[in-house]
Symmetry: C2
Subunit: 661 residues, 2 copies
């Protein structure tokens, strides 16, 4: 995962043995590229991690016995990596050798990731199945946008995230570095930005350079985002004169959309931004530079008489047009410093040059509008990982669906790809891996693999093994949550809590922090809702089991086996309630779970009654059914910020008890 | 853990709340010590990790509301840390504040570790119990000797190990840097040492300095060991002229005791060592320097006519005396470079100056002999973590037991402490945490806490929570093994394998690699025996349960409850065999487990029969009992390098069925 564009498995089935003698070598003009060289070493380390085999830590010189021969046809341009750099590769595996050929260094990196994921354990040992792959990405821009402002993400966590991205062939790290809640990068020109705007939690320029170098070695571009003119409270702590209303300002601790906004009418603002961009465009070598532009509240502009006078004087009719004016000015500055500007949907304003790139949080419609006008676009709507949606939902989102599907082939070329987006209001370094993985792998497949690949069942099957593979390569999405679950009741077995959590998921969308009232930057994120995955595999599997049972009712033997499993699952969850409830009173972190347990008990009772009735061939009257459905619905509410995700399957069971027409 | 020297819990019980407002500050002349400053930051990070609370990442200036006030009475001498540096501290916790006072910076580090381990989760939230502690170590030298030659240990793993050591107040990292199987440090004077002797797996001098600095910040001394004149094959790959027999040499891949030995009769050897020591004693600032000296095979010396002639000429009667000659010469060189020499037992030779330190792998007797002669000594016998012994066994070993107990108080002062030792023949970076932890914490307590603390039951209770605490602080002893277990059968649930492993432990002592035949440096360490802890908690708990049952047979109610639990445990392991066996044929890494499962099935059947008979009040004849005991014994053999550790409890059950006299 992502599934290659073309795969042909060899017939008859053969496999290449992977043992301690495993070696790897690279040849061809592009093999000396430092990215290829470091990828070889990294691949050997991954083989050791995945298999436990003591393979040589260094690539071989490439004699005939080399297990995996890499050939890189061409050298590449100097750093930085650019949009559209060639990522094509082919991989041939026979019973005796594997051969990876790439047009350019990036293709070698992508092919090595594919090879690693193909390693499997069989009764005979580790091996890679013989096959032939010809692979290249569907979209050239496949990114992750990560908010490091709402909660700071330390460097080791970023490095680990980049490693995971590289394994699933994502190639853009979009680094959201400033927002109301924190300015996260060192400015030497304007040091009060980080000194007063970050609580000391920022990346030094040396650290930034180090991370960019590391990302480059992994085949990942780094695109910084400094969101403006809104989302800028943290700037104003040190530089209140930039704001549209008088200060003083302090770092915003709540989450939401706030009023502080750059003053777009003062030339000093642009002088500041000119110097600031001069510094930051040098620090970040990518050809693109993101200036945000989303969610601007007009209040400060409306309340400021000088700004209103400026608008009249310059014939600017309203605040959106004032933002358009600001956006054009900023675009000129970004362009002056040699970069393409990226902005969120709002940046698409009349008169903006075609060189800008629109990133859409609104949806394909914005992109279609932009593409028709000749603007490049990226889709992020549908890929918001902080909404706690299932992988299947992200997987179904496609940059060329909906309005963009109707574009001409020429217009569609403006759709460069998409980005997963992780906003960090309700996530911390401790659970960031679980917020990103494995769901981000499904998005990566959507952006890399053929559009025709849409089956969620196949996706989930492959996602399970990809998830495990990622953990062998250092990601912590399961181990991290496990430790968090242990924290909930130290010294107790985690089994009852994990079984309780089987049926639970965090509430979806932005309901956890409705109206921005409940959470601030310092609210602990250490309760059960923070310690469980966004998506419950056991709950999904139970829903599939119920579907399978109901869809195959005509086959009595199969139905009876399914029903027995359904009852066993339900009773296991039911008896587990007795094991988990005593923990609630022992731990402040679990104290709020009693209500969830009560609702779960009610759902389980209804579901078990239904399953028993089905086993006995009984039916209910319409009014009995409705009463039960109503009870199930009344228990399907957000409690302690979680939802009981076996409820939909319980409803289907009850509905099937309705008298047949 | 380690238990402080003096603890007094406040009456009535109170506790200090730990919430997001938690702050920490340090004052007093020693507070500006960089070790104290970094310990404050580290402590705040640990509070975040342990609790998930978003506490400030930076220490406070120390206003009245500070939660934990640290006061450090005196500045310290410049780096490096020295033997005997003051580690005393007191910690007062009330319902409103905690006060840590230390004589010197190291005491602050030790007290902060204590504070961290005291944080607990209650129904009301996180808190520290109100109490009063006055604490200082029993021994000034509390170390871990880690072999980085047999298998190279990468720097991140070393850093993590140092962090764990610091948490349990160990203060010496003894770095075993060279052996037959690899020379692991960069020499600029003699670069062929690492270039030809390490497979590219060595620490650069910059990395060494970085690790020493890091250890210093954690309150840990770094003592290097370059083992000589034996254990030196890897030196001879680049410098065969140093050996006592002609080359060429290659890195030794097997494990054991080998013949290649430095030539102690050539002056060039000492010139080489003089230059080498000049370089290495500068690189390693500690006042002690370890030159090994153990397990010298005389074969090369006996076979070399020139060496034999030298011995005659100088009146050296035999090879041990030739080693004594070498040892004196090396001691003079070490001394010339300003260091105290450390050697293993064999270094204690007539005429060696009293400034040397003897580290005993043989036992207290060697130390007693040395101490009577006025030599300082360290105990490592009893603390060999690679023997896979239970924590209780290490806990029972004491530097002042046996022969050393009989020393005069003055002589006992020569016993400086001890070191856990981890030899890495059968361990890899992947499972090193599980080989070290949590058992090393029991050794740390032995060396820090009062000698009177000897109850293994209390130790195991505290060890369980310490183990969890260590994982919250970044150690991987459980998470690492869990991933290894997952590797054994990818895609399968780990539950059946973990339950199967409940009853298993790796075989003890050096039986896994008897005669050095089976393992080389490249043998994979990825089977079940490598993926389980040295000591099984469930097996130990089962043995305790059986003991409790048999000891309380007079109380029918208690006995009946115990017996029910015993039967339930046994039947769960029995039914699990059906779940785990199918995995054996799917995975090459589990293929050898069938024999273990067969023996386990046999033991379980005998034990279940015995439990049933006990429940029914039946007895067996002596010959029936003996037959069953014989069967149990025949199943208690090493199979696939593991032992079934519920067998002793099964035996006790059967024995209790014997007819009463």
């Amino acid at each position: 995962m992502p599934m290659p564009a073309h795969v042909q498995v060899s017939e008859p089935a053969q496999s290449l043995k992977i043992d301690t003698a495993f070696t790897i070598s690279a040849g061809g003009p592009g093999a000396s590229d430092p990215r290829v060289q470091s990828a070889l070493v990294r691949t050997l380390r991954s083989v050791r991690r995945q298999t436990g085999l003591m393979v040589s830590p260094q690539p071989s010189a490439g004699d005939a016995a080399t297990t995996l021969k890499v050939s890189v046809a061409a050298k590449d341009h100097p750093a930085p990596q650019r949009l559209g750099d060639n990522e094509h590769y082919t991989l041939q595996v026979t019973g005796t050798q594997a051969t990876l050929t790439a047009d350019a260094p990036l293709g070698a990196l992508r092919g090595l990731a594919t090879f690693l994921e193909l390693i499997e354990l069989t009764p005979q040992g580790f091996s890679v199945p013989a096959l032939s792959i010809d692979d290249a990405p569907r979209f050239p821009w496949r990114g992750l946008s990560l908010d490091c402002s709402r909660h700071f993400v330390p460097l080791p966590d970023l490095r680990r995230t980049l490693e995971g991205m590289s394994l699933v062939k994502l190639n853009v790290f979009h680094w959201h570095l400033s927002d109301d809640q924190g300015f996260r990068v060192e400015s030497k020109r304007f040091p009060k930005l980080q000194e007063l705007g970050s609580d000391g939690l920022y990346y030094t320029q040396n650290q930034v350079r180090g991370l960019i170098d590391y990302a480059y070695s992994l085949g990942i571009r780094v695109v910084p985002e400094f969101d403006m003119p809104g989302h800028t409270t943290s700037w104003f702590v040190g530089y209140p004169e930039l704001a549209s209303a008088p200060g003083p300002y302090s770092i915003e601790r709540k989450f939401g959309i706030f009023k502080p906004t750059l003053d777009p009418t003062r030339e000093e603002t642009y002088q500041f931004l000119d110097e600031f961009l001069d510094e930051m465009t040098s620090l970040f070598p990518d050809e693109y530079f993101h200036v945000g532009g989303d969610e601007v509240e007009p209040d400060q502009w409306k309340a400021n008489a000088r700004i209103q006078a400026f608008m009249k004087q310059h014939g600017i009719p309203d605040e959106p047009m004032l933002q358009a004016y600001f956006s054009r000015r900023v675009q000129q500055l970004v362009s002056k410093h040699g970069k393409h500007m990226i902005g969120w949907d709002e940046a698409l304003q009349p008169g903006i040059p075609k060189t800008i790139l629109i990133q859409s949080w609104r949806g394909p419609q914005s992109l279609a509008v932009a593409a028709r006008q000749g603007y490049d676009g990226l889709l992020s709507a549908g890929y918001y990982l902080d909404l706690m949606q299932p992988a299947s939902q992200h997987y179904a989102a496609d940059p060329l669906h909906g309005e963009t599907a109707a574009l001409s082939p020429e217009e569609q070329k403006h759709i460069l790809g998409g980005e997963g987006a992780m906003w960090m209001e309700l996530a911390s370094p401790e659970n960031i891996d679980a917020k990103l993985w494995p769901r981000l792998a499904a998005i990566a497949e959507r952006l890399w693999s053929p559009a025709s690949l849409t089956d969620p069942v196949s996706m989930y099957q492959r996602l399970a093994s990809t998830s495990q593979w990622l953990e062998f390569n250092g990601l912590m999405h399961r181990a991290g949550l496990r430790l968090m679950v242990e924290r909930l009741a130290p010294g107790a077995s985690v089994v009852p809590i994990e079984r309780f959590a089987d049926v639970l998921e965090p509430t979806k969308g932005y309901t956890r922090n409705e109206n921005g009232e409940k959470y601030t930057q310092s609210t602990p994120l250490n309760r059960l809702v923070d310690s469980i995955p966004p998506e419950s595999d056991p709950a999904r599997e139970f829903r599939m089991l119920v579907d399978h049972y109901l869809d195959n009712a005509a086959n009595p033997q199969m139905a009876s086996a399914d029903l027995a499993r359904i009852e066993a699952d339900l009773r296991r969850w039911q008896s587990n309630l007795d094991a988990v409830r005593p923990l609630f009173s022992r731990s402040a972190l679990l104290a709020d779970c009693s209500g969830v347990a009560d609702r779960l008990a009610s759902i389980l009772k209804t579901a078990i009654d239904a399953a028993e009735a089905l086993r006995k061939g009984q039916h209910l009257t319409a009014s009995e059914t409705n009463a039960r459905l109503a009870r199930l619905d009344s228990d399907y509410v957000v409690e302690d910020e979680m939802l009981i995700q076996i409820q939909p399957a319980a409803k289907r069971l009850v509905m099937s008890l309705r008298p047949k027409k």
